[in-house]
Amino acid sequence: MSREVSFDPEDEEFFGSVGSFGVPKFDDAMRGGVPRGFMMIGFTDTGSGAELFGKQFTSPAEESDNTMYVSTNESKAEISRIFTKYDWPQDIRVRTLGEEYNSKVLEKELLASRYRLEGFKLPDIQRLAQTRFVEDNTQDFLTEMTNEVMSMGPYFRGVIDSLDFFIQRDDQTRVISMLRMMQAHTQMYRGLLLLMISRDAIDAATKQEMAAIADMVLEFKVRGIGSEFETSMIVSKFRNAPENLAVMVYRVTAEEGVTPETVERIV
């Protein structure tokens, strides 16, 4: 990883040293936004609004073809509905790995039941006699995902929601080493990469390891107070700027999406 990346001076001026969260009040609380080159990990609770936060993070879309949103559990239609509702740019790169996975599996199951019902036709048999390996129907989504991130150019912006998908299918140490690669790429290309993962999906040691690789750690929490729910985000790690560590209570509104209400410094 000793490759030098040269940046266009005009780009340097245009993008600046920090990028917006897509939420002005968060930017203010973080003294301008996220430093370019940061890989962030968000540890999430169900119902904390983290999914929306992830989508909102793409909304600044400085360059739409250099902005990527990867979802592992939503469909393109669902994503599009939310982007439309908030009027966030939709010409960004969107990949829905859950959908891709399901259609692969479904396709294979359909084919199998067709073979079982109707039997093999001559061309099927010829193909079968020439097939020497079992096709990996689930394909290697983790490698593909990493390659997708690694192919992003200078000042990219990317969100992966969520890593749960990979943790469930791959060996955890592989996921961790892919994270290191993505972190290095993000840093070198001054990108902004936000990765979400459910707190429940990993054990404490894995969480610790992921937090150590990330430049910034966000904890999305939800707790019940009487009949209400309070959603909050804790910035528990901010590389080189511990003064930014904070607890922010936020609401999700129909107009602005995720909106902080109170900001409390930790240090």
């Binding site: 294979k108 199951e109 084919l111 199998a112 039941s113 073979y115 079982r116 039997g119 093999f120 036709k121 001559l122 048999i125 010829q126 079968l128 006699a129 097939t131 020497r132 390996f133 079992v134 096709e135 129907n137």
Partner: protein, 242 residues
């Protein structure tokens, strides 16, 4: 081999080739197919014990084998794992429906390409996925019957751990019951050497020799020589290619 069998394996029969590991079952099976392919018969080999890539890599070293037979489609090698995957059978154990799906697929293949020589290598590996003995019996019986009506001559390869006189020639004790013939391959110690041998225990429709023959796996293929100590008097000495 043809001389031992007094002509060969009767058409349409199902023969169990039971042998210990490395005794030459796969090689014998492949020679059986090559002989058929040479005279233009359509052949099929289902490999479950090893991936087809490995099988072909090994078998191509023998001079009797020619990759052209594979390329031209005369010998069709099917990887059981691929077949399982295509049929949605990537699971540890098969139920009745799965077993029928498997039989249907094999019969389909035999029928569609008009296979007259078939090797299943091995039924032991295949049957590991079938948990009940009744189901194994059902499977082998149904398969054997269907193949016989299609006029296909079949070698069912079985892995056994020992080939002694009173050993079972099958792992499940049912393979031998459905077979028209049984060929046993194993090791025998002679003057400190471990020799491979072959013996035809049963072959319906032929007055075969029941003697033990020493086998040598040579680059030419399987070579057989009578073992005099056990050999019947009227068995001519010499060696034959299978």
């Amino acid at each position: 081999m043809d001389e031992i069998l007094r002509g060969g394996i009767p058409y349409g029969s199902t023969v169990l080739v039971a042998g210990t590991c490395g005794s030459g079952k796969t090689t014998l099976g492949m020679e059986f197919l090559v002989r058929g392919a040479t005279s233009g018969e359509a052949c099929a080999h289902f490999t479950a014990t090893e991936p087809s890539v490995k099988l072909l890599e090994n078998i191509r070293q023998y001079s009797f084998f020619d990759m052209k037979m594979i390329d031209s489609g005369l010998i069709n090698v099917f990887d059981m794992d691929v077949l399982y995957s295509w049929l949605g059978l990537e699971k540890a154990s098969f139920d009745l429906q799965d077993v029928y799906a498997l039989i249907k697929a094999i019969v389909d293949i035999v029928n569609t390409i008009g296979v007259t020589r078939l090797v299943i290598d091995s039924v032991t590996t295949l049957c590991y996925k079938i948990k009940s003995e009744q189901l194994i019996r059902d499977f082998l019986f149904t398969l054997g019957k269907k193949l016989a009506t299609l006029g296909c001559t079949t070698l069912l390869i079985a892995e056994i751990t020992s080939a002694t006189e009173n050993a079972h020639w099958s792992s499940f004790g049912v393979e031998e019951a459905i077979a028209d013939g049984i060929i046993v391959m194993g090791d025998v110690e002679r003057m400190g050497h471990l020799l491979r041998y072959l013996q035809v225990v049963k072959m319906r429709g032929t007055q075969h020799s029941r003697a033990k023959y020493a086998i040598e796996l040579t680059p030419l293929g399987v070579m057989l020589t009578p073992m005099l100590k056990w050999g019947a008097l009227n068995d001519r000495a010499g060696s034959w290619g299978a």
